[in-house]
Point group: C2
Amino acid sequence: MRIGELGRTVGVDVETIRYYEREGLLPPPARAANGYRTYGPGHLERLAFIRHCRALDMPLAEIRRLLAFVARPDAACDDIDRLIDEQLARVRARLASMQALEQQLIGLRALCDSSHRAADCGILHELVAAAHGEACACHPPQG
Amino acid sequence: MRIGELGRTVGVDVETIRYYEREGLLPPPARAANGYRTYGPGHLERLAFIRHCRALDMPLAEIRRLLAFVARPDAACDDIDRLIDEQLARVRARLASMQALEQQLIGLRALCDSSHRAADCGILHELVAAAHGEACACHPPQG
DNA sequence: GCTGGACCCTGTTGTCGCTACAGGGTCAAG
DNA sequence: CTTGACCCTGTAGCGACAACAGGGTCCAGC
């Protein structure tokens, strides 16, 4: 199996596969006489594993840690739990800040809903007022 | 006003201010005899505007567009509305995908909650199963 | 035999929004 | 006269790729 077929099968770009190899996430495959990379089912499985973890938005460093657990099945799995918990905490923190951001944008959008000149635009006024340090819908006094 | 005072006042790192100047977001200030940058109230206002927009997670390219509107107050503000709408759409799309991700991680976490060997870890099994293309809690059949 | 196009290779550079140096200059206080 | 805070330019790094440049390889069709 060559790199193109592997990429199509797993749904990963060819350049990304080579990148994972450079980064040590995927072991270097055998080479054909012409220098082409030749992959086996083990590579396919490992790449699919990486892709799945990436779909869960895990950074490559954490995937590396997980791959180490796959290789050592006798280790305690407390660390795996902790890894997922950390990941969940990060996602939730990011979620909260994005929800706040959504509210700010909704407030800003409500200030302008008809067609007029930029000079009278509530959105622009609000942003400029913020620049003056005045109270604004985006950054109310309570923080 | 020198760069350090400007940075402290607005709450922007000194290196970031120089970066904004390089990127053309902030006009090059006058220089003192010793070469130090010398800022006036106009710079302060503009930098605060940028900072506020960045707090709304706008990419620098969009802030550039907004700054162009501030400079031309007679332009129609439809584009400003559209810009905020686009921003809101991006935030909401990201929000939806992060909520899905949170659910996937919760499902994954539920598979393992006691101390045992990695070989028996439900999380690891699930991730490996995903690598085999089998149905999994993270990527259920309906997509 | 020869050409076109799909595929493969290595290596470098670009993306975004900073951040962190390295290696120097300037200035006021002690 | 030295210390330390501040300033300068320029370059490299981050994460996770994407997008080339500039080549080699292979197979089908004419």
